[in-house]
């Protein structure tokens, strides 16, 4: 669908986009995740030809958009963009949705028909005669999506489509995005700072940090095998430990972390310095039992003491001192069953396969 090679963008003296290479395939949902201000919006604006890259090349369906003969308007008309802050024009919902078609001089009968079906798609048919400026934030965002979809874009760009929306409106928008992709086969590039949303919607994810595309891959790659500490932290990995491989038997490694031996899967050889990434939900907590009774086959059984307990949405977040700090999530119910409190001695169990081993401190 599109290919960016070596794209950079400099505003004044600041390099906001640094040498980005990106390829998006037909029909996929690609999510750009990254902290606010990392450059996601600028990437989308470059793709929508609202911004010219300072250097690099951008191909849309094989056509070089920067070549002298490229018809920018014609290329832009094959895409549509939904902005973070939906701007509606001061007229009816129906007319707002019709703008893209009017610009393309579509036949009036076809405009009526397509606007009706676009409003059906976003569930706003009953508000077609309302003034768009009187709508709620969620409804305006749906108008913006209908307005984009009515032009039947091959590529739909969405910049933080659910930022500033309440959870119910966000759910509506998310299911709409899935429907657009599956029913209309529209390729979607979505920018979000909400990594959970990225995870829910994407086929593939790109992580943007400080203007660079620092990792691209599947959900599994990004969330379980992050390429470095900053990405790990951003995708919700709280336990990051450094250690040295002491032994490796055919990919099954023994790693020394602050004097504690952790077993994990990695081809890295002895004496390699490594970072271990562990998602908090992969840690199982139990109370110590007399030796020999009910011992499970889990490779890593670490004894430790709870040092901090914090509520975390529906879960309880524990910090456990096992010779190094380890973060675990337990349900409220199990926390009550086990009578967990600061100072409680617990056993933290971790499967060797749940730990991602990354070479060297990054």
């Amino acid at each position: 669908m599109i290919r960016l090679t070596g794209i950079t963008k400099i505003f004044g003296k600041t390099e906001v986009i640094k040498e980005i290479d990106l390829e998006i395939k037909d029909g996929e949902v690609f999510t750009l995740i990254g902290p606010s201000g990392s450059g996601k919006t600028t990437i989308l604006r470059i793709i929508d030809l609202l911004e010219k890259p300072t250097s690099g090349r951008y191909f849309f369906k094989g056509e070089d958009t920067g070549s002298p003969g490229a018809d920018e308007l014609a290329i832009r008309r094959r895409m549509a963009m939904v902005f973070q802050k939906p701007s509606v024009l001061n007229t009816t919902v129906e007319e707002n949705v019709a703008f893209g078609l009017k610009f393309r001089k579509t036949d009036p009968a076809a405009i009526t028909e397509r606007v009706t079906s676009a409003l059906d798609l976003v569930g706003l048919s009953h508000l077609s005669g309302r003034r768009a400026v009187t709508l709620s934030g969620g409804e305006m965002q749906r108008v913006a999506i209908a307005r984009a979809m009515v032009t039947r874009p091959e590529l739909l760009l969405m910049d933080e489509p659910t930022a500033n929306l309440d959870p119910v409106s966000s759910d509506v928008i998310e299911s709409l995005i899935r429907r657009i992709n599956t029913e209309h086969k529209t390729t979607i590039i979505l920018a979000t700072h909400d990594m959970a949303q990225g995870q829910r919607l994407a086929d593939r994810i790109g992580v943007v940090m400080d203007g660079g595309l620092v990792q691209q891959g599947t959900i599994q790659d990004i969330f379980f095998r992050p390429n470095g500490q900053r990405i790990a932290r951003f995708v919700g990995i709280d336990s990051i430990m450094t250690g040295i491989v002491t032994r490796n038997t055919g990919g099954h490694a023994f790693i020394d972390v602050n004097g504690v031996c952790i077993e994990a899967i990695t081809p890295l050889q002895p004496r390699s310095r490594v970072e271990l990434y562990l998602r908090p939900e992969e840690v199982t907590i139990s109370l110590p039992v007399p030796s020999g009774q009910g011992v499970k086959s889990t490779r890593n059984r670490l004894a430790g003491t709870i040092t901090k307990i914090l509520p975390n949405g529906p879960f309880i977040r524990l910090t456990i001192d096992c010779g190094f700090p380890l973060i675990a999530l337990v349900t409220r119910l199990s926390s009550e069953d086990l009578h967990l409190a600061v100072g409680t001695a617990v056993i933290a169990e971790i499967k060797a396969t749940a730990i991602h081993v990354h070479a060297g401190p990054s």
Partner: protein
Amino acid sequence: MSDIISGFTQAVNLIITLNPEVMQIALLSLYISLSATILAACISIPLGGLIHFHEFHGKAALLTIIQTLYSVPTVVVGLLIYLFISRSGPLGFLGLLFTPEGMILGQTVLIIPIMLGLVITALGGVDKNIRDTLLSLGATEFQGIFQIVREARFAILGAVILGFGRAISEVGVAMMIGGNIAGETRVLTTAIALQTGMGDFPFSIALGIILLAIALVVVVCLNLVTSGAFEKFERIVGGTPKE
């Protein structure tokens, strides 16, 4: 006191009986000021768009000059236009001095700054994201600018009404360019000045009432626009007409 009361009574009588002289003066005033307003709007709206949508060196200075000219004295504009259209001036060959057309020219020049400045402010008030939204929807540069002007239509209409208010109420240009010739270039403001000087108070009061009535209509229109009453009306009748 009795002079004032009898003046008022006679003035109302002049208006109710549609005194031909009073009506001729009122209609001429409307003709001149409306023509100047339309001309100034035709210049200010596109020019305002051009200034708003383009970045160039000296833009800030230009805006300051435009704003300063909001309060240019009418006699200064009168003098300037006089110099241009008097027989020996560069536009003397047009024979505009002491004609309604010359007055239209003078009032147009007088109200362009305020209309232009307010149009630029109106366009600046439109959400910055609207332009990107329109471009991303596939608008050409012209389609985008047209929609933004349309988006600012209420504020622009306000600017036009204010321009009209300034035109109809000014004396300097009307007096200096028109010359206050009875039946030719005598308008409401110059007639009031003259008749008051001659002690014909009822006539002056009648013209004053008409002038105030016109001002009232202007203010009511402006309030309707700024309070969004037209918008409410459009909502009731089902949105703006389709192009």
